[in-house]
Symmetry: C2
Subunit: 115 residues, 2 copies
DNA sequence: TTCGTCTATCGTCGATTGACGATGAATAGG
DNA sequence: CCTATTCATCGTCAATCGACGATAGACGAA
């Protein structure tokens, strides 16, 4: 809700992401189990709860911890739907990291010529 | 040299990057000092050697270790230019991570409408 | 050769991470 | 009421990370 009309305003929505911000984002993705979870949420658009535990094959407490890390980084959001919790991706949170990668591609590859 | 005509062949160039691969890539970026180094190589296109040590403000051995990690992940390459070493970015190595982020953006945002 | 510069590696230390089981809280259904 | 389900939190353990100083190797210059 907070990032509603972000594309309308030119300046304040781009506070030039800190190196720490980007590193924190990368750190949240820096584990196979968490990549697995992100991919899971990518294909089953519908949010899933305990199914994640079955899918990744780790203990429930371990998966819960990974979900906590992803949530703390803002990469996923958990909506309470008693007694389950509904997890979804929050694409906007990944913008700073994607922006850095885009900058690398632009600088390193003269003409991608796609599009 | 190995990835010359990669865009011509349809299958072998896209082995569906493993979660481990992407996680390793993210892990290599999961530190402020390493983000700093990447950004440095991004603005000073020319490869730099010991200037990195001055710039990040850590001990030489520590910076060397960060450079080793980035190099091991394939994100940068070091060209020997005695007695210095010339570091440059290797954008292609970041493709798997960027591809995941793109997939998240596509799935999560209905119509980007760019292009 | 000797000196100075630039890097890489080693060893060590404290801090953090990742995994687990056990426990606890909140809710739906009997 | 009691029970089952789902998730979060706690405590503990081994493993890894990040930082540093010290050291060693490779070369250019004097």
């Amino acid at each position: 809700m907070a990032a509603a009309t972000a594309r309308s305003v030119p300046a304040p929505a781009r506070p030039a992401p800190t190196g720490d911000d980007i590193a924190a984002l990368a750190k949240a993705l820096a584990h196979p189990a968490r990549i697995h979870i992100v991919r899971l949420l990518l294909e089953k658009r519908t949010c899933i709860g305990c199914d994640i535990v079955d899918e990744v094959g780790l203990a429930q407490s371990t998966v819960s911890e990974h979900l906590r890390i992803l949530k703390a980084a803002g990469i996923i959001t958990g909506e309470i739907e008693r007694p389950r919790i509904c997890y979804s991706l929050n694409p906007a949170s990944l913008r700073p990291l994607a922006a850095l990668l885009d900058a690398v591609f632009e600088a390193g590859e003269p003409e991608p010529s796609v599009c």
